[in-house]
Subunit: 747 residues, 2 copies
C-alpha cells in the first residue's frame, strides 16, 4: 500500500521561468495515449472519447485559425478607421473609414471618390475651412493630438493590465517554444490588451507594424484553446506543438501567406517541429487565411494591402541593382540591430527605463510632428508600401506615376513603355529621401518601447523606399541612355523594361532579411505576395546578399539579439558549436568547488533530505548507491521530492524526521521499533541522461538541442562526476563566443 | 612515439550495406572545420582555401541544379520524340516530334497544324495509306513493335550495366538518406543507364512515370558532384545533406514546383534536414527549375505539360464530391499498395523473378495491345493528364469538350456557361471508364519490374480520370437540375459553375496522396501547378480524406512498404512507438544467451583480441575496466581494431601475438623482457552512448532517430549489461507491430 501509486497534485508541472524537459513531457504523453487506447476497448463511450481525443488536435487548429483570422480582420478594420480618424470623420456614419465613407456615396469618378462630401476633414467640420494655412495648422494640431491620445491610452493599458503585451513578442515566443515557462505571457489578458493596444499604436502613426504582434496574438489564441483540452493543457511539450502552429497562423494572416507562415514557423520560431505539426500548422494557417478573406478588410478580396501583380519580366542586367539593394538591406540590418540594442540596453540600465509613458509620448509627438508635412510618412506605413510596390498603370493617379506621356502613343492598359519622369516624380524622390532618413532613425527608437511593436513593416518600408528610388533611377537612366551597352539588348525605346515597383519589393525583402535573417520563409512570403514564380530569383538574390552582408558584421538577427539582451535561456539550433571543449570542462562542480549534492539510495533520513533541499537551490538531485561508490541509479526532481515529503508527512502514518528514505526497489526488513520508512522509488527517474566526461561538448550541445534536455549527468566508468544543466551549456557557449556568461539569467 | 597519431588509411569509412553513425560523422566534420579555420589564419592562400571550402556547398548546389535541369529537359525532349516515333515520322527532319514537325510547317489553322503534310504516319510512309482497316492494322502492329523494342532495350541495358537503375529509387534513397550505405546506387553508371532507360520505358507507353526516377537521377547528380569536393566525399553525413537537396531539385524539375520539391524532400525523403540544408535545397531547386525553363521542352514556357490556370471559383457544395474523390483516392491507394506488394513478394519468392526480361516484354505487349485502340490510353500519360486537367475553353477541340453550344450566346472566351454534353462527351466517358480500369490493373503489375518506373504519373492519371468523370457528372446534374436545392444558390442557368478540370486535379491529388501519403508537399506541388491559392481548400480536403481513408487500412505508404519488403534498416520518423517495453527487454544478450563479448582495458593480448574478432561478427566491442567489475570505459569499432592491429604488426616493432593491448591512458611500466605493448586508446570512442536498463524503449527509439545512432550501450548503476543496435530496435518495432522481426535484414 504505497500512497505514491496515486499521483499527488502538481506533479509534472514546472515553476515559472524554468525550462521544461522535453523527453519527460513526451513520455508522459505516450503514457496518456496508452491509457486512452487501452480504455477505448472497454466501452463504446470510452471509444468515442478516444476518438474525440484523437481529433482534438484538428479541432484546436480549426478554432485557432478562426479566431486568429477574425482578430486580424477586426484589427485591420479598426486600424483603418482610427488612422483616418486622425484626419477627419465620416458624416453619414462616424464608424466608416475614409474609403468606406466614399464607397457608399454615389460619386463615380476616382477623384470624387477620394474627396466625397460625406468625408470631412476636422478643419472643415470645426471651422468650415478645408484649405488655407489656418486649416492646415488646425488639422496638423489635431493629427498630433489624436496620435498622442492613442499612444497614451496604449501605453497606460499595457502598464496597468498586461506588461507582457509590449514589444513584438517573437523573441519571447521563440524562447517559450524552446521549452521555457513564462506564465501569463500568452494569457487572456495579454491577448485582450495586446489586440486593443495594437490597434491604438498602429493608428497613432508610430513607425511600427502589426505583423510581429499578430504572431503573439495568434499564439495567445493557441494557448487559450490548448488550455481547453486536457491533452494540451497538461503537457507543456504538446502545448508547444499547438503554439508552433498558431505562430504559422499568425504570419499567415499578417501577410496573407499560408505557406510562408508555415515556413516562418519552421525556420524562425519553432524548436521542436515534428511532421505532424507541419501538417496541422498548414491547416491552421489556411483556416486563418480564409477567415480573414471572408472578412475582406481591404475590400479587394486580398489578405494584405500590398498584394501586387507585375506583368513585365525582369532582365539579367537588373540583377546588379538588385544585389546592391541586398547590400543596402544587409547594412541597414546591421545598423538597426546595433543601434537598437545599444538603445535598449541604455533603457534597461539607466534612468530612462523608469519613464516608459513619457518615452512613448515623446516619440509619438516627434513622429507625428515630423511625419505630417511629408505625404509619404503621413499615411499609414502599409499604404506607403502598397503605393511603392505598385506598378504605374494607366489609371494610377499617384504622384509617383507622374510621367510625361507621349500623346501619340495608344497602347493597352497594362503595357506602358518607359517614359521620362515628370515634376511629380522628382518631388516624390525628394520626399521619399526625407522619409527614408526619418524612418531609419525613428524606427531604432520605436522598437522596444513598452507598447506592442512589430518591425516587419518599418523594415519593409525602409527597403521599399530605397528600392523604389533605385528603380526610378534605373528606369530614367535606361530611358535617357537606350544606346548604352548594358541597356541596348533588352531596353529598346518604347519598351516597358524597368518596373520600379519590383525594385521596391526587392528592397523590402532585402531590408527585412537583413534585420530578421529569414531566408526561405522570406522569399516564400514575398512570392505569395506577388503570385509569380518569375520574381523569385531577384528576391532570392537580394535576400541572400543581404543575409551574407549582415552576417559578416554579426551572426545575430534582431530576435536573437533581444533574447540575448533579456538573458533568456535559448539554445539556438542555428548556432554551430565548434570548440574543442569536453563535458568535463563544463560540468559542475568545477575543481575546487564543493562536491555535488547527491542523495543516497538507502541511507539518508527524511531530515537529511529536507536539509539538503533547504540548503541548496538545485532543481534536482542525482541518487547514488552510496557516498563511497557514487554509482548512479537515478535522478529525483526537487519539486517532486518536496511534494512527496509534504504529502507523506501529512497523510502517511509513521513517517517522521528520522525515517529512512528508500529509493531502492525493496527496502530491507527494518527492526520493529524503527520509524516507518519513506519509499520514494516512484518519483525517481530511473533513466537519467548520462554522458562520459570525455564526451566533446559539441555532442553534448547536440544532445541538449535535439532531445530538449534540462540536465545531463556526467560519469566516468560508471561513477558519477558531475552535472551539466542547460544553463551551464548556454554559459559555456557564451564564454566561448567571448560574451559575458553571466548574461544567461534563468534556469 | 605512438604511430597511431598518424591516421591510417580507411579509418572512418563504412562497409557496404552498413549504417553510418551520424554523431561521429558530425564530429569529424567539426574537426575538419576547426582545422581549416585555424589554418586559414596562417597565410592568404590558406585563407582563400578556407573561403573556397565555405562556398563549396553553394557551388555543389549550383552544379546539381544545372545538371538536373538539363537532364530533365533532355529526357522530356527525347520522350516527346520517341513517343511520337511509335506513330510516325517527320519527313523534313526525323528528329522532330509531331508537334515540332508541324510547327515549322506554314499551315496556320489548328486542324492543319495537327495533320501537317510533313508528319507522316508509318502506314502513309510505307504503303501510302493513312485511312482504312489495313492502314490501322499496320500502324497498330508497328506501335506494338516499337514499344517492345524500347522496352527490351531498356530492360537489357538495366540488367547488363546497372541493376540499381530499376524501380523508382525513392525507397532506396530514403534508406540511404537515413544513413545506410548502398555502394553504386548513386553511381555514374546508374545515372547514365537510368537516364537512357527512363526515356525508353516512358516512350514505350508502359503505365509508369518519370517523376520518381527523376529524383533518383538528381540524387545521382548530387552524389557525382559531392564526390568532387573533399568536404562532402569524405563525410557520409555531409554527403547526405547534399543528397537531400538534390532530391528537392529532382521534384522541382519533375513537377515544375521548387517549393513543393523542397517540402517533398523535407516531408517524404530526408532524414536529417538542418535549416542550412533547407536554404540550399531551395537554391538547388530553383536553379534546376530555371535551367529546365530555359530549355523549354514543351514550348509553352512552363515546366510541366499539365500546368493549368482555372478562372472560375469553386463552391462550398462541391466539397462533397471532392471528399468523395478523396475517399476514392484512399481506397485506390490501399488497393494498389496491397496488390502491388503481394505481386512483388510473389516475384521475389517464386520462379517469376527469374525472367525479368520476359516479364517486361509481356507486360509491354499487353499494355500496347490494349492501349492502342483507346485514344485516351494510346497517347502518353502526361498528355492524358494535361487534357483531363484542362478547362473547356472556346478553342478546345478535344472530344471531352464536345458540348452543345447555345447559338444565341456570345460571350468572352474565358466565360463559358455550363452546357449540355454532346455525343463526344458521352463517348469520352465510356472510353475513360475503360481507361480507368485498364490503368488500375496494369499499374499494379508494372511498378516493381526491373526497369525505371515512377508511379506519380499513373496514380495521377487514375485520379484524374475518375475526377473528370465525377466532374462531368456533377456538371450535367447541375445543368439539368438547376432548381434542386443544392444547386439553386450557386448554379443559376447560364452560369459557369462547375469546372470538370478542377475535379480531375482534385482526383489526381487524392490518388497520389493515397499511394504516397504525402500531405503538405502534395498540396503545395498541386498549388504550384495551378498557380492559385483559391484551390488549396479542395485539394487539401481531398488529400486529407484520402490519407485518413488509406491510413485506416494500413499506415504504410508505398515507399515504406517497399522498404519493408526489401528489409532495409529504415527507422521512420513518422512511426510512433507507444509500447511500454524497456531497454532491458530489447538489449542483447537476452536472458540465457552467452554473455556480451567485451574487451578489457589492460588485460587482453593481441591474440585474444584477434580471436574475439574472428569468432564474432559484431561491428564493435565495448571496453570495460575488467571482466569482474564490467564498468564501461569506451567502445572500439571492429573495423578500426582490425586495421590498427594489422598496421601495428606490419610497422611497429615488437608487437607480437602476446603483446598486451592497452586502452588506458598510461600503460604501466612493464618488466623489461615482456613484449612491446599495443596502445590503442586512440581508436577508442571514449564517449559511447549509454542508457540505463530502465529507460523506456520509446525514449531509446527517439534517441536513435534524433541522434542517428548505430548502437547504444545499456548499463545499470554504471555496470555494462548489454547493447542495443539499430537492427535490434527495428526488429523490436517489427515484433511489437506483429510483423516478422526477421524481415529486417541489414545492419
Amino acid at each position: 500500500m504505497d500512497f505514491l501509486d496515486e499521483p499527488f497534485p502538481d506533479v509534472g508541472t514546472y515553476e515559472d521561468f524554468h525550462t521544461i524537459d522535453w523527453l519527460r513531457e513526451k513520455s508522459r504523453d505516450t503514457d496518456r495515449h496508452r491509457k486512452i487506447t487501452s480504455k477505448s476497448k472497454e466501452s463504446i463511450w470510452e471509444f468515442i472519447k478516444s476518438l474525440l481525443d484523437a481529433w482534438s488536435g484538428w479541432v484546436v487548429m480549426l478554432l485557432i485559425g478562426l479566431k486568429a483570422g477574425t482578430l486580424a480582420g477586426v484589427i485591420d478594420l479598426a486600424v483603418d478607421w482610427m488612422t483616418d480618424l486622425k484626419e477627419g470623420v465620416c458624416l453619414s456614419a462616424f464608424w466608416y473609414s475614409h474609403e468606406q465613407c466614399c464607397w457608399t456615396s454615389n460619386e463615380t469618378t476616382f477623384d470624387d471618390r477620394v474627396k466625397c462630401p460625406q468625408w470631412q476633414k476636422w478643419s472643415e467640420l470645426l471651422v468650415g475651412q478645408s484649405e488655407g494655412a489656418s486649416a492646415y495648422i488646425l488639422n496638423y494640431f489635431l493629427y498630433i493630438m489624436w496620435a498622442l491620445c492613442f499612444a497614451f491610452l496604449a501605453v497606460s493599458l499595457v502598464r496597468v493590465f498586461a506588461p507582457y503585451a509590449c514589444g513584438s513578442g517573437i523573441p519571447e515566443i521563440k524562447t517559450i517554444l524552446s521549452g521555457f515557462i513564462i506564465r501569463g505571457y500568452l494569457g487572456k489578458w495579454t491577448l485582450l490588451i495586446k489586440t486593443v493596444t495594437l490597434v491604438l499604436v498602429v493608428s497613432s502613426g508610430l513607425s511600427l507594424g502589426k505583423e510581429g504582434p499578430l504572431v503573439h496574438v495568434a499564439c495567445c489564441c493557441g494557448n487559450f484553446f490548448s488550455s481547453r483540452f486536457s491533452k494540451y493543457s497538461k503537457n507543456e511539450g504538446k502545448r508547444r506543438e499547438v503554439l508552433s502552429a498558431a505562430a504559422a497562423a499568425g504570419v499567415s494572416v499578417a501577410f496573407g501567406a499560408p505557406i510562408g507562415g508555415v515556413l516562418f514557423s519552421l525556420e524562425e520560431v519553432s524548436y521542436y517541429f515534428p511532421l505532424k505539426t507541419l501538417w496541422r500548422s498548414f491547416f491552421a494557417a489556411l483556416v486563418a487565411a480564409f477567415t480573414l478573406r471572408s472578412i475582406n478588410p481591404f475590400g479587394n478580396s486580398r489578405l494584405v494591402l500590398f498584394y501586387v501583380e507585375y506583368h513585365t519580366p525582369w532582365y539579367m542586367a537588373e540583377l546588379f541593382p538588385f544585389i546592391l539593394l541586398g547590400v543596402f538591406g544587409g547594412l541597414w540590418g546591421t545598423l538597426f540591430i546595433r543601434c537598437n540594442i545599444a538603445w535598449c540596453r541604455r533603457r534597461k540600465t539607466t534612468r530612462l527605463g523608469k519613464y516608459p509613458v513619457l518615452e512613448v509620448i515623446a516619440v509619438t509627438a516627434i513622429t507625428a510632428i515630423i511625419a505630417y508635412p511629408n505625404p509619404y510618412t503621413r499615411r499609414s506605413t502599409s499604404e506607403l508600401i502598397s503605393e511603392l510596390f505598385n506598378d504605374c498603370g494607366a489609371l494610377e493617379s499617384s504622384q509617383l506615376c507622374d510621367y510625361i506621356n507621349d500623346p501619340n502613343m495608344t497602347r493597352p492598359v497594362d503595357d506602358i513603355p518607359d517614359r521620362p519622369a515628370g515634376p511629380g516624380v522628382y518631388t516624390a524622390m525628394w520626399q521619399l529621401a526625407l522619409a527614408l532618413v526619418f524612418k531609419i532613425v525613428i524606427t531604432i527608437f520605436t522598437f522596444g518601447m513598452k507598447i506592442p511593436s512589430g518591425l516587419f513593416i518599418p523594415s519593409m518600408a525602409v527597403g521599399a523606399i530605397a528600392g523604389r528610388m533605385v528603380g526610378i533611377g534605373v528606369e530614367q537612366l535606361a530611358y535617357h541612355h537606350h544606346d548604352w551597352i548594358i541597356f541596348r539588348k533588352w531596353c529598346r525605346p518604347g519598351a516597358d523594361c524597368v518596373t520600379p515597383g519590383l525594385y521596391a519589393m526587392v528592397g523590402a525583402a532585402a531590408c527585412l532579411g537583413g534585420v530578421t535573417r529569414m531566408t526561405v520563409s522570406l522569399v516564400v512570403i514575398m512570392f505569395e505576395l506577388t503570385g509569380g514564380l518569375e520574381y523569385i530569383v531577384p528576391l532570392m538574390a537580394a535576400a541572400v546578399t543581404s543575409k551574407w552582408v549582415a552576417d559578416a558584421f554579426g551572426k545575430e538577427g534582431i530576435y536573437e539579439a533581444h533574447i540575448h539582451l533579456n538573458g533568456y535561456p535559448f539554445l539556438d539550433v542555428k548556432d554551430e558549436f565548434t570548440h574543442r571543449t569536453l563535458a568535463t570542462d563544463v560540468m559542475r562542480p568545477r575543481r575546487g568547488e564543493a562536491p555535488l549534492s547527491v542523495l543516497t539510495q538507502d541511507s539518508m533520513t527524511v531530515e537529511d533530505v529536507e536539509t539538503l533541499i533547504k540548503e541548496t537551490d538545485y532543481n534536482g538531485f542525482p541518487v547514488v548507491v552510496s557516498k563511497d561508490s557514487e554509482r548512479l541509479i537515478g535522478f529525483a526532481q526537487r519539486r517532486e521530492l518536496i511534494l512527496a515529503i509534504k504529502n507523506a508527512r501529512q497523510r502517511q502514518d509513521g513517517v517522521v524526521s528520522n525515517s529512512i528514505v528508500y529509493f531502492t526497489e525493496d527496502p530491507p526488513e527494518l527492526p520493529p521499533n524503527s520509524p516507518h520508512p519513506l519509499k520514494l522509488r516512484r518519483i525517481l527517474n530511473l533513466s537519467p541522461f548520462t554522458v562520459t566526461d570525455h564526451t566533446p561538448m559539441e555532442t553534448v550541445v547536440d544532445i541538449f538541442r535535439k532531445l530538449g534536455l534540462r540536465q545531463c549527468l556526467v560519469t566516468r566508468s560508471g561513477r558519477l562526476l558531475g552535472i551539466i544543466t542547460k544553463k551551464d551549456v548556454l554559459r559555456h557557449m557564451a564564454q566561448m563566443a567571448n560574451q559575458d556568461p553571466e548574461s544567461i539569467m534563468f534556469n
